[in-house]
Symmetry: C2
Amino acid sequence: MLIGVDLGGTFIKVGLVDFEGNILRMNSRPTYAQRGYTPIIRTMAEQIRELAEAQGIGMEDIHSIGIGVPGPVEYTTGRVLYCSNLSWRNVELGTELNSMLGKSVYVENDATAAGLGESLFGSTRGAENSVLLTLGTGIGSGIIINGSIYRGSHAAGSEIGHTIIGENFYDCNCGNNGCFETFASASAIIKYAQHRISNDRVKTLILESAFNKAENITAEIIFEAAKKGDALALETVDRMCKYLAIGILNIYNMLDPDIIALGGGVSESENFPIEQVKKKVNEMVFSKDVRYGEIVPASLGNSAGIIGSAFLGYYNNDGKSFESECRRELR
Amino acid sequence: MLIGVDLGGTFIKVGLVDFEGNILRMNSRPTYAQRGYTPIIRTMAEQIRELAEAQGIGMEDIHSIGIGVPGPVEYTTGRVLYCSNLSWRNVELGTELNSMLGKSVYVENDATAAGLGESLFGSTRGAENSVLLTLGTGIGSGIIINGSIYRGSHAAGSEIGHTIIGENFYDCNCGNNGCFETFASASAIIKYAQHRISNDRVKTLILESAFNKAENITAEIIFEAAKKGDALALETVDRMCKYLAIGILNIYNMLDPDIIALGGGVSESENFPIEQVKKKVNEMVFSKDVRYGEIVPASLGNSAGIIGSAFLGYYNNDGKSFESECRRELR
């Protein structure tokens, strides 16, 4: 049995996962981020113990624990370098949880873990080179190259949400202007609609659907208004599609993967305009003669993070590349 | 002995290279691009025969021939997909030259070949993950991942010059707006200076140095004028540095290599402001806690393409990854 943890700013979700990638049991607890890290890690340990108990197994039956974290991590030591949702900086997450449970703990960026999950059991299964983009509050990315997680030389790669792709009317949290995630995440499209409403006093169904309060606007409200033909909603969706296409084009022109999967809250809406994104990408590709990577919806939804995290340590013990070993086993 | 060919729009340069990466002999002939491909390939064959003769060796002493081409290629078949400098489309370069000389011929994008050259014998030697950017008429890139050439799943990757990083006052040849190479190549800075002179009637030393003819402006003229404190030249160089920094930042945030080398005509100028580029990148990095890849000048100059091309086929015969084999041999 494996344990996968999806550590979010709002909830800690823990899953007991079998070696075929099935989540057998799951539980979820509020994070209460303001508590600081030790109580949060203690809650995580409790959730894991509860799952084992409910399944009627002992800690000795658990191979390892993997945790996906919304921020950059040092995967070799299990340290969380920085996590704005939790106000964490340099937290020894792996060491702390290991000392509570006596099990091996592997810590990874959440989008990278989800990318591994999709690549082992989901939408990008079987691809040598793949990229998962998670479109949520920000944009996360999980890169698989030659069948293994790709982190770069200092584990600082795979921050595709912070590649600069244009000029925007507001700055990114990271301090730069024009980051991919300021154009095509949920927050990005909400901010754009709010900006047009307050600055340009545009009349729109979006505002009505949000009970005339701009702070109630959600990505879903915008997608639904676009479906009904609302002008500002259509403009907002068009703009998102344009920049999603640019972000995907840049991945093509750097990495040229077999497949790009779109996951995260925004893309899970049934009104998410994936065909419009594909069309836009097709218009922009560098060479019409080349077959580029497929663009597909991610298939594991919220489970991708838990499943991917669970497998982080599966084959890591003997120092081999666990993912490629894992793949060999799975084929 | 190995043969490396640098096929350019103006010159065909051929080098006889030993197994330690030294160019023993070289010759160069005008391409006369308008001749069409067969005469060009015939000239190439003649140049190779001449080099062998001058060295006193026979064709049987030549292991293989590699060619770097300024455009996308299908490296598995040796076909040049497209080459605007030569007006080539779908030219069977590998097959044609092979039929003339009876030797194995390997064809690769020129920046990728140069990236391999730098990685085997130059500025990025020893790095597991590296990127060479060649700043010339356009921007080419050669990506090495895990010690091997990285081309992507459809050999369409490594077109970093066509990643979109902003909004520009003119469109790229590829049809899109905002490509990296429209901001930071030689043509890009020349176009920007010309644009400011003709549209905004800016007074500048640049124009004087170009004998009052905007079409005479070169990158070097701009760098020299900047050194003398000319306002437009400083503005042009600042803008180039800003966008070079964005391009490098995007490479960090996607690939996070050990090292990024800057090569090509622009960067070879002694007035090229590499320190200003580094400073700008430092200001923009996502996390100040992370050590990112070094930024260095490429070290092999024009020879990188010939040396890298020469080694393309060295270990390819047995179907193994020739570059990693090559590296093992070299260590």
